[in-house]
């Protein structure tokens, strides 16, 4: 295998003491070369005589006689495309050798912009060929075209490292030269770079015509010949030129001993570009050992640790195993390095280790930091937000939005809520993003994020909703996840199918109607044949509500309610007609029914917990009259309510209400009774009398009084009436109406008052009974009160005995006792009495 005809098996040609510097290859320093070791060049490279200093790689294979070597490396390094082509095809005019040092000197001070311009002029189509891993034949052309390789290599790395840079800028090699080297990033980029750059050099050096040989003849060839040849990538001389700064202290350190003209400037340049962090600090111990070994071999030169740190610190193990040329670079650089930079950077070993650790840490952090630039982040943010943003947050993000309002976070209370309309903003508000490590940065980032969000929201709103699309040639529909349905793959029902189902359901209902009619017809026939049940004659006009019907009605109510609630968030004027209609208050209001299914649907709804839970929300949207209508309906239908019908202990053998109904009663008193109590505050005196009258007329008052809910409702109405009466603004007519109403009620209750005490209330903790008695006593005259006391005398003493039996030393019992007596006294106080556990006394005023 040979590279440009170089025979690796031959004895090494480069003097070990000579260094090799890319920077100088185009400097015309070849003129000052010591050619002593170049004797075998002819043999090595095909020996076409004196090739001059401008060896043309395109002609090395001898297929065609090499054209006059007129172009120097320096020239080639900065060659424009045209130059390159003409050289390649041997059409370039011969260039006088003498001009080279001069031109090199000029090129030395080329500005970065100029270099850039030259680089960009190179035919980009050549780029693919310049990959270092390309096979040999292509490498032959590679030399001048090498420059573009930088395009391929650098952008990804710098793109990551300098997030602030716009992409187009990153593509420009000249840009890199302006970058201060960041210690942390160098190790990352080096492995990719150096292999392509350094190992190619030896070939040049050996091909260099006499007198042009730069001082840096690679000595690594003698050191490690086996590794060298197979891995020689193309020669990146131009690369060095383009990027004097990139890894300045590593490869480009000049050989001061032999450098002649331009090296001092180089040195200065490099000195400027040396990273702020002393490079020696990032040397890993192992690397230093290695250096030390090498140094001891080559003890003639001082070891300059500062010169190759970047390579050595982290990637050393890798290099040893995978990247031999890197390894070589170390030795190479190490030996090339000079005391010039050495002294100021000397640190104690402890400091170095410490610094190395720190540096390693920094590197680890830096490695991925800024891997996305702000544009990338913005893009990702926008993309994510576009999926979750919605125009109707209260509908689609209902839970979170309302939850935030109902349960404000303590630290968010004071904050303005004007951004509520966007779920995306709410999302970010609440997501607890930790932006940036430091406060200021976080603020900036937050601001940017918020601006970004604003834009994203508008963009997302404008964008048409695309949920699915069919691509030509695709086997199926490609569904696009949205924030609403991130992964929906199945469309279970098309709308047509759903409609069909609904129609089916309707016909199904029709059938049941028919069945019902059939039954009714039968009933009718029965009625005709049997005059005793004539009452069923009108059953045709009465609709029966099954459980499903009631549930449907209830769902409809809730849906309407929620719709109205949504509307009310947007405007104060809402149309409650639909809601009122859906309540079906005015359907079949008669409490006298033969079948529980014929009861008014709203009353039936009230047997379900979920209806009770919405009562207070419902009442918010109903007018006073509407609520009064509902109250009237309920008063007349009390007996049809489950909580009354099944809520009396008297209907059960063990005198206990089953837990199923107890639970419903509990819910009822927490929801409906409360809502009713609030509404009753708005009722007028005569309205309350009206309600009471309806209640007494349509129900068995004595039975109702044995239920907790019935008693609570009575208490509510009575106490409200008492309060209004206490205000003293009642007309005489109303008063007389009131007293007759009260008499009627009392008559219904008389002789059954003691029954209101549930027999199994062992603890007597239920205060509602005493509340009712107190209210009743308050509304009655003295004779009423006497009757009441007479009837509940046993209960009074029973409570007193219970209180007495409790040991007041126990704190729990003490409270229980107090509770018992308080309940009792609530009633007794009305009659000017007060009781303790021993006796009943007259209330001392």
């Amino acid at each position: 295998m040979s590279f440009f005809g170089f025979d690796p098996s031959k004895p090494p040609q480069g003097g070990p003491s000579e260094s090799y510097d890319f920077e100088n290859t185009y400097d015309g320093l070849g003129d000052q070369l010591d050619d002593a070791d170049d004797a075998l060049n002819d043999e090595t490279f095909g020996g076409s005589g004196d090739v001059g200093k401008d060896f043309n790689f395109g002609a090395t294979k001898g297929a065609a006689p090499p054209p006059p070597q007129t172009v120097s490396y320096a020239r080639a390094a900065v060659a424009t495309d045209e130059d390159f082509m003409s050289e390649l095809w041997g059409t370039a005019k011969p260039q006088p050798e003498v001009s080279n040092p001069v031109s090199a000197g000029e090129k030395k001070i080329l500005s970065l912009e100029e270099i850039e311009a030259q680089l960009t002029a190179i035919d980009p189509s050549r780029q693919p060929q310049q990959h270092p891993m390309q096979p040999f034949p292509q490498q032959q052309y590679g030399m001048p075209g090498m420059m573009p390789m930088q395009y391929g290599y650098m952008p990804p790395m710098y793109g990551g490292q300098y997030p602030g840079m716009p992409p187009q800028m990153m593509g420009q090699p000249g840009f890199y030269g302006q970058m201060p080297p960041i210690p942390g990033q160098i190790p990352g980029q080096m492995p990719g770079q150096l292999p392509g750059q350094l190992p190619g050099q030896p070939a040049h050096g050996q091909q260099m015509p006499q007198g042009q040989m730069p001082p840096q003849i690679p000595h690594q060839i003698p050191q490690q010949p086996p590794q060298q040849p197979p891995q020689q990538p193309p020669q990146p001389v131009p690369v060095q030129h383009q990027q004097p700064v990139q890894a300045p202290s590593v490869e480009t350190v000049p050989e001061p001993v032999e450098s002649v003209t331009s090296i001092p400037t180089e040195t200065v340049k490099q000195g400027e570009n040396t990273p702020a962090v002393p490079l020696s600090e990032i040397l890993a111990p192992s690397t230093r050992e290695e250096i030390a070994q090498v140094a001891s071999k080559k003890s003639s030169r001082p070891v300059n640790l500062s010169q190759f740190p970047v390579l050595g610190s982290k990637s050393t193990p890798q290099q040893r195993s995978n990247r031999p040329y890197h390894h070589q670079n170390h030795h190479y650089n190490d030996e090339d390095d000079d005391g010039e930079y050495h002294e100021p950077l000397i640190l104690t070993p402890e400091q170095q280790i410490k610094a190395a650790r720190r540096q390693e840490k920094v590197m680890r952090i830096m490695k991925y930091s800024g891997i996305m630039n702000p544009k990338d982040k913005d893009f990702v943010t926008r993309f994510q937000l576009s999926q979750i943003v919605t125009e109707d947050p209260y509908n689609e993000d209902f839970y979170a939005q309302v939850f935030k309002v109902i349960h404000p976070k303590p630290n968010q209370v004071g904050q303005p809520q004007e951004q509520n309309n966007s779920i995306a903003q709410a999302y970010l508000d609440q997501s607890g993003h930790r932006l940036g490590g430091r406060y200021k940065r976080a603020d900036v980032a937050l601001q940017r994020m918020q601006q970004q969000v604003q834009r994203a929201v508008t963009v997302a709103k404008e964008r048409p909703k695309l949920t699915q699309y069919v691509r030509e040639g695709a086997l199926g529909r490609i569904s696009i996840g949205s924030g609403k349905k991130p992964r929906q793959q199945l469309e279970i029902f098309s709308q047509a199918v759903q409609k069909g189902l609904e129609e089916e359901g309707e016909t199904g209902e029709g059938e049941t109607d028919k069945e019902n009619k059939g039954i009714n017809v039968k009933k009718l026939n029965n009625a005709i044949s049997n005059p005793a049940i004539n009452t069923n004659l009108d059953s045709d006009s009465i609709k029966k509500y099954g459980r499903k019907d009631i549930m449907g009605i209830l769902e409809n109510i809730i849906t309407n309610l929620m719709t109205i609630e949504s509307e009310s968030r947007l405007s104060t004027e809402v149309d409650t007609n639909n809601l009122w209609e859906s309540l079906k208050i005015l359907e079949q209001t008669s409490p006298r029914v033969n079948d529980p299914k014929e009861v008014n649907p709203f009353i039936q709804c009230l047997n379900h917990e979920k209806a009770l839970k919405i009562v207070s929300r419902l009442f918010k949207f109903l007018s006073r009259e509407q609520i009064l209508t509902i109250a009237t309906l309920i008063m007349s239908n009390l007996g049809n309510l489950d909580v009354i019908k099944h809520g009396s202990y008297t209907t059960y053998e063990d005198k206990k209400v089953p837990s199923k109904y107890l639970k419903l009663i509990e819910t009822y008193s927490l929801t409906f009774t409360k809502a009713l109590m609030n509404s009753v505050q708005d009722f007028k005196f005569n309205e309350i009398i009206g309600l009471l009258v309806i209640l007494i007329e349509h129900n068995n008052v004595s039975f109702i009084s044995t239920t907790k809910i019935g008693l609570s409702i009575l208490t509510t109405l009575l106490s409200r009436a008492e309060l209004i009466r206490g205000e003293g603004t009642i007309s005489a007519a109303d008063l007389s109406e009131w007293s007759s109403c009260y008499d009627e009620l009392f008559t219904a209750l008389e002789s059954r008052i003691s029954l209101i005490f549930p027999p199994n209330d062992v603890e007597s903790i239920e205060s509602y009974v005493w509340q009712f008695l107190a209210t009743l006593a308050l509304g009655g005259k003295l004779n009423h009160q006497r009757i009441i006391v007479d009837e509940v005398r046993d209960e009074i003493f029973s409570v007193m005995n219970k209180a007495k039996a409790l040991d007041s030393t126990d704190i729990n019992n003490f409270y229980k006792k107090q509770n018992l007596l308080n309940n009792l006294n609530m009633f007794l106080v009305v009659m000017g009495l007060v009781a303790d556990e021993n006796e009943i006394r007259e209330l001392q005023t």
Binding site: Q384, Q387, I388, T390, N395, E396, D397, F398, Y399, A400, Q401, V402, F403, K404, I406, H407, K409, A426, Y427, Q430, S431, G432, H433, R434, G481, G483, K484, K485, P486, R487, I558, T559, M562, K610, K613
Partner: protein, 95 residues
């Protein structure tokens, strides 16, 4: 959207995430997205002796599809509101 909406309200609450591979991770919920991917902070493994893999991890990102259960504080849930929200979701779907 309902679950996304729901989990959003749990941000900054402590939750226990049981993964499909049986690991249980307790941590403060930091973020959630529409795939119910979760970001947890200050995590600890509730069955650490069995799965010590995460002993030195402080925060992590969990792909939503790997979650089996998320255990939450019952007090952090407004059940009535959740019922309404699910009803609303059903209404939306029916449209």
């Amino acid at each position: 959207m309902l679950f996304f909406s729901f989990f959003k309200t749990l941000v900054d609450q402590e939750v226990v995430v049981e993964l499909k591979n049986d690991i249980e991770i307790k941590g403060v919920l930091k973020s959630v997205d529409q795939y119910l991917n979760l970001k947890l902070d200050n995590i600890s493994c509730t069955n650490e002796t069995k799965y010590p893999h995460l002993t030195s991890v402080k925060n992590l990102f969990i792909r939503g599809s790997t979650v089996r259960y998320v255990r939450i504080n019952p007090n952090a849930v407004d059940c009535t509101l959740l019922q309404d929200a699910s009803r609303r979701e059903a209404m939306q779907a029916a449209k």
